[in-house]
């Protein structure tokens, strides 16, 4: 699960100054709130994009390359029977990644703000 770490590390150019201010404790709450909100939105967009790519990657194969998706790998096992459940499982794992990130990083940030 590479996503949580990336979302937390990569901070867009325009908020980098604010982050320094937060670390040194100089930012006002509204500014810190904006940084936190941006961080959440960015992480949420990355995960949404991942879901869209996984799902439409699968649906793209279903729509445009049925023979490939129908490749029989072993008796009782074809590529689509592997990939279909994997799409379902990856949806849940992406949700899990978000919830873990939100519970650890985001909530503690909100708690600090609320104080």
């Amino acid at each position: 699960m590479h996503a949580p770490g990336r979302g937390a590390r990569k901070i867009p150019q325009d908020v980098r100054g604010d982050v320094t201010a937060i670390i040194s404790g100089n930012a006002d709450p509204a500014q810190r709130g904006a940084v936190l909100a941006k961080k959440r939105l960015k992480f949420a967009l990355v995960l949404s994009a991942a879901m869209v790519v996984i799902y439409f990657g699968f649906m793209g194969l279903f729509a445009f390359d049925k023979p490939l998706l129908g490749t029989v790998l072993a008796p009782g096992l074809s590529l689509c029977i592997v990939l279909g459940p994997l799409v379902i499982i990856s949806s849940f794992l992406l949700c899990l990644a978000y919830v873990i990130w939100a519970n650890r990083v985001f909530d503690s940030g909100v708690r600090k703000l609320a104080r």
């Binding site: 509204a30 709130g33 904006a34 936190l36 909100a37 959440r40 939105l41 949420a44 967009l45 995960l47 949404s48 879901m51 869209v52 996984i54 799902y55 439409f56 699968f58 649906m59 793209g60 279903f62 729509a63 445009f64 049925k66 998706l69 129908g70 029989v72 072993a74 008796p75 009782g76 096992l77 074809s78 689509c80 029977i81 279909g84 459940p85 799409v87 379902i88 499982i89 949806s91 849940f92 992406l94 949700c95 899990l96 978000y98 919830v99 939100a102 519970n103 909530d107 909100v110 703000l113 609320a114």
Partner: protein, 527 residues
């Protein structure tokens, strides 16, 4: 049939339990906060189960199992599409929704904009979604109950409508939530047992099951076909409609308000995603089990368009008692889904249309509750009447239409309201109306209505200039709705919407902290 008596027995046990819950809930439902949001006292686990109960219709068990039995893998296209919308709800929608809104999704869209036009447009989109979905559910329910219990169609529809009315009218969201939880637990239990019983015939190995299926009916059952979803772009369009439609279904979004805060809302979506995903994986096993152990011919002969696959499989692997149980669970499933749908329709009519449009936000609690109850009776009667009126009609497309409208009408305005400062009132209203109308028009001009319903020959209509070959409109209507919203926002300005964006962002983060309702002390932490 002896199994008939058994299933009716199971069904009465379910009714007795849920009516007892309704009686208990009715005594606690005193305010609109309770009626629409169960007082925000539902725990994440309960809400996760209730979301699964709300969302898993009879189509999820009976319908998909039937498609898998006759077509193999293709049934899974629906299972997957119904699941991938949930992460989108979690990432983009549920936390802002919980923190900014109160009862409906229009609360969030209208927050920075002019209340009346946005709420009216939102109500049009929501009511369209709910009505089409309700008709599809009621008609399916009537014919399935006729098939499972031998009850006449009209009586089936009246019983379902009447019981749903009792749940919602007296017990509001609290009773509806518990009905969903009980139903979801029964459905999951039935699914697990059925899937395990199937696997005992195949050394507990799904692979041996699939191998047996392909030995019997050819490798095509393990491969994607074009009978269930035909057309390349149609498949993509179906995917768009299912994914973003799920993410904007009003009865799903409404559940964000039944928990105490945004963290609880987040957890409940995670649990719901897990439960629904697990259920769909089991249905896949059940469908293949029915294919091998019952046979597609026997399922087709039982009638109901393949819907009898799961019950017949239950009869084969578990005997009469289990058949009765699965039939009763299916009945309970339909009841719970229509109750959830009705409640979200009532919330829109009462909270958006009456309180905020007609009364301009100043209706007393007692008046709102009265209107909510009137709306409940009205929607229930409408559901029964429409259910009877559409008897025997091919309404399967209406469920798809509901998802398409939710996708094109609700999703763009909701996401833009949350993330984009520039969104204006006229843009939001136009986006919702364009999404609704374009979905309706595109479906009308497609083979779904022209060929399947109106019975015109395809060769005749496909050369007409207005003909739309796509059966699923989302690939056109969703981008169209987004474009309308973006273009209109850029050419109009709304000072107030711009000024309140930061305030809304803050509230999305922190929630309604110093809200008018003082938080009640809670002894137990929900998480």
């Amino acid at each position: 049939m002896g199994s008939n008596t058994l299933s009716i027995g199971f069904f009465f046990a379910f009714m007795a339990l849920t009516l007892a819950i309704t009686y208990w809930a009715a005594r606690r439902t005193r305010t609109t906060e309770h009626f629409f949001a169960a007082g925000g006292e539902v725990t994440p686990w309960q809400n996760g189960w209730a979301l699964a109960g709300d969302f898993l219709s009879a189509g999820a068990l009976l319908g998909i199992a039937g498609i898998v039995t006759s077509n193999g893998f293709d049934g899974m296209i629906y299972s997957i599409g119904w699941l991938v919308g949930w992460p989108i709800i979690l990432f983009l929608i549920v936390e802002p929704l919980r923190n900014v809104g109160r009862f409906t999704f229009a609360d969030v869209v209208a927050y920075r904009l002019r209340q009346r036009p946005v709420r009216l447009a939102g109500a049009v989109g929501t009511i369209a979604v709910i009505l089409f979905y309700l008709i599809a559910q009621m008609v399916a329910t009537g014919s399935l109950i006729k098939l499972l219990f031998g009850l006449p169609y009209i009586w089936s529809v009246v019983v379902v409508g009447g019981v749903m009315l009792i749940y919602v009218l007296f017990g509001g969201m609290l009773a509806t939530t518990w009905v969903q939880v009980v139903k979801a637990a029964l459905l999951m239990a039935g699914g697990v047992v059925l899937a395990l019983l199937v696997l005992t015939h195949f050394d507990m190995s799904p692979l041996k099951l699939f191998a047996a299926a392909s030995e019997k009916y050819g490798a095509r059952v393990l491969q994607p076909g074009s009978k269930v979803v035909s057309g390349r772009w149609d498949a993509i369009s179906l995917g768009i409609g299912l994914m973003f439609g799920t993410a904007a279904m009003p009865h799903v979004l409404m559940r964000a308000y039944t928990v105490k805060d945004s963290k609880a809302a987040r957890l409940s979506i995670l649990y719901a995603t897990g439960l629904i995903g697990l259920f769909h994986l089991m249905v896949f096993i059940i469908g293949f089990g029915a294919m091998v152990l019952v046979g597609p011919e026997a399922v087709a002969k039982a009638g109901g368009g393949g819907n009898m696959a799961a019950p017949l499989l239950a009869l084969t692997v578990g005997g009469n008692a289990f058949f009765g149980f699965i039939c009763a669970v299916s009945f309970a499933t339909m009841l719970a889904v229509v109750a959830g749908l009705t409640l979200s329709g009532v919330a829109t009519l009462c909270h958006d249309v009456w309180t905020n449009v007609v009364r301009n936000g100043s209706a007393s609690e007692a008046e709102q509750l009265r209107i909510a109850r009137v709306a409940t009776v009205a929607i229930s009667i409408l559901a029964i009447v429409l259910g009877i009126a559409f008897e025997g009609q091919n309404v399967a497309f209406m469920a798809g239409l509901a998802f398409s409208i939710a996708c094109a009408a609700n999703f763009p305005s909701l996401v833009l309201a949350i993330t984009w400062r520039r969104l204006t009132t006229s843009a939001a209203v136009a986006s919702i109306l364009v999404g609704t109308i374009s979905s309706l028009v595109l479906i009308y001009l497609s083979p779904t209505i022209q060929v399947d319903i109106l019975g015109k020959p395809l060769a005749q209509v496909e050369h007409e200039w207005w003909f739309v070959s796509l059966r699923n409109p989302a690939i056109i209507s969703l981008p169209l709705s987004f474009c309308v919203a973006i273009v209109l926002s850029l050419i109009t300005t709304e000072a107030n919407a711009d000024a309140t964006f930061d305030e809304m962002q803050e509230r999305m983060l922190l929630g309604p902290l110093q809200a008018s309702v003082p938080p009640r002390p809670r002894t137990k932490s929900a998480a």
